[in-house]
């Protein structure tokens, strides 16, 4: 069964900007899918619609067989606890420790009072620590997040998402602010989680080569429409130019794609 399904989804911002135009696709459980497309294509909008950080204008979105668009607050909260999210700018609470940020992954499953006061059980703390160890962050556990490097912060972001024990992880340009080496570390971790825990990953990327290397399936978006949806082998240079609306030699790295 599809874990996530978009049915003719459209989104209009402020009655003027048509960000998404009749988008339909579905993700099977355990897939690793990348979304590529130029700036302003609507990639971030697609991701934020999945857990309704943004409300859509038209269409339907199904998560795990339930209609997200028709949910009340409580049901929506349940969906959000099952979807992790990773951001380009990490979106951590910089002044809190690494541990506290990771434990935030459990907030959605806690009572208001316990969450508000930040009261966590020993098992939860142990779980958080084990996740941090898996991401090579054990030494940073009690550091404040504003003392970390970008690559470390993004791993804290991943740890917070894993802490949710999610079915789906949404990543909005997870490596856009990182150097090539940290980028590889982050992508390897995401790929690893996907394979090991069978968590579905939907990743926005600006780097076509990274998308081709890590994903089994790529969705190309341009001007709010899907113009390509298929495995990396099917992505030829013509399609890449169509996605980025560019001509030969217009792209900074001409991608080595199948002819």
């Amino acid at each position: 069964m599809a874990i996530l399904k978009f049915e003719n989804v459209s989104k209009v911002y402020d009655n003027t900007t048509k960000a998404l135009n009749d988008i339909s696709f579905s993700l099977e459980e355990g897939e690793f899918v990348s979304i590529i497309g130029p700036s302003g294509a609507g990639k971030s909008t697609i991701l934020r619609c999945c857990n309704r950080l943004i409300d859509i204008t038209e269409g339907k979105i199904w998560f795990d067989g339930k209609d997200v668009t028709a949910m009340n607050k409580k049901e929506l909260r349940a969906v959000r606890t099952k979807t992790g999210m990773i951001f380009q700018h990490y979106n951590l609470v910089e002044r809190l420790s690494v541990m506290e940020n990771v434990l935030h992954g459990k907030l959605g499953q806690k009572s208001t009072l316990a969450g508000m006061a930040g009261i966590y059980s020993e098992e939860e703390k142990l779980e958080a620590f084990n996740i941090l160890r898996g991401l090579d962050l054990a030494d940073q556990t009690y550091k404040r997040c504003d003392e970390l490097s970008g690559g470390q912060k993004q791993r804290v972001g991943i740890a917070r998402a894993i802490m949710q024990q999610p079915k789906l992880i949404l990543c909005d340009e997870p490596i856009a602010s990182l150097d090539p080496k940290s980028s590889k570390v982050i992508m390897d971790h995401l790929s690893n989680i996907n394979k090991r825990d069978n968590i579905t990953c939907l990743v926005n990327l600006h780097q076509v080569d990274v998308a081709m290397k890590y994903s089994k399936r790529i969705i190309g978006v341009t001007g709010g429409r899907i113009v390509f949806d298929g495995p990396p082998e099917k992505l030829d240079i013509k399609t890449v130019h169509k996605i980025y609306q560019s001509n030969d030699s217009d792209l900074i790295t001409d991608v080595k794609v199948g002819a």
Binding site: M85, L92, R95, L96, G108, M116
Partner: protein, 263 residues
């Protein structure tokens, strides 16, 4: 290359125009108000001499030190109490006003308008208005300071929260955290430094303002100053000014220390 030179030329012209406009405004304003810089400067030595002769504390002034200190303490405590109380109200109010919490755009707009109203009426005017209902009373001063502080802090808090908390609140929302959890685990930890900094600044400002308001409402150190001044007992009034300056410097020192500690 050509373009770059062009930009530099444009920038030079801009600077020249700005300098000319500033000069024009200064001379225009001086002409209209009949203010003469040279006369102003010439009056300086005389003014200082007068201060030195008349405001030097004498024996009578020194015997009044306990009274002055107790009034000074009263004013300081009032300022601190007002600021802290206004800050708590402003924080709750600003939660409704920020875009970060996405409560409701109409409520947000309403909050901003109310805050702007309270902020833009000067505290002295508030004091004069409130005197009709409450009379010359410490409550009048309290409310006057409360209103402006509340208006100003609401706006400052909204801006602080929107600037530093919106990204982490988005992430906490995405984990399924509810409103109260987002406030306590996201907004408060991330914007606390900014908020405390604003509150300290307002305490300093309010100590100065409360002196002025005290003259109107006949309370606190402002009243004492006004009384000595009108009785032409300048040495006592001068002593109050001296203590005020010391107090403000001490408060500034303390708040700088607090700022450094919480950074």
């Amino acid at each position: 290359m050509k373009k770059k030179e062009n930009i530099l030329a444009v920038r030079k012209v801009t600077y020249a125009v700005v300098a000319a406009v500033i000069a024009l405004i200064y001379f225009g304003a001086a002409y209209i108000t009949e203010f003469k810089m040279s006369e102003g400067i010439a009056a300086f030595p005389g003014a200082f001499l007068w201060i030195a002769e008349n405001l030097m504390p004498d024996e009578q002034a020194i015997s009044r030190i306990p009274k002055i200190l107790s009034k000074l303490l009263e004013t300081t405590l009032l300022s601190v109490a007002v600021t802290v109380f206004a800050a708590v109200c402003a924080f709750l109010f600003s939660l409704l006003g920020t875009r970060t919490t996405k409560i409701n755009p109409i409520i947000g707009k309403a909050v901003r308008i109310v805050a702007a109203f309270f902020r833009n009426v000067p505290d002295v005017v508030w004091a004069m208005l409130l005197m009709f209902s409450f009379g010359q009373n410490i409550l009048t001063g309290f409310l006057a300071l409360f209103f402006t502080t509340f208006g100003l802090l609401t706006r400052a808090f909204i801006e602080t929260i929107d600037e530093v908390s919106s990204s982490c609140v988005e992430a906490l929302n995405a984990t399924g955290a509810n409103f109260i959890q987002c406030v306590f685990q996201g907004i408060i930890p991330s914007s606390l430094t900014g908020i405390v900094s604003w509150v300290l600044y307002m305490i300093e400002t309010n100590i100065r303002s409360s002196t002025l308001i005290g003259m109107l409402t006949a309370t606190g150190i402002g009243y004492l100053f006004d009384m000595y001044y009108k009785m032409l007992q300048f040495p006592s009034a001068g002593l109050i000014v001296l203590f005020m300056v010391i107090l403000v410097i001490v408060i500034e020192g303390i708040s700088n220390k607090i700022r450094r500690v919480i950074m």
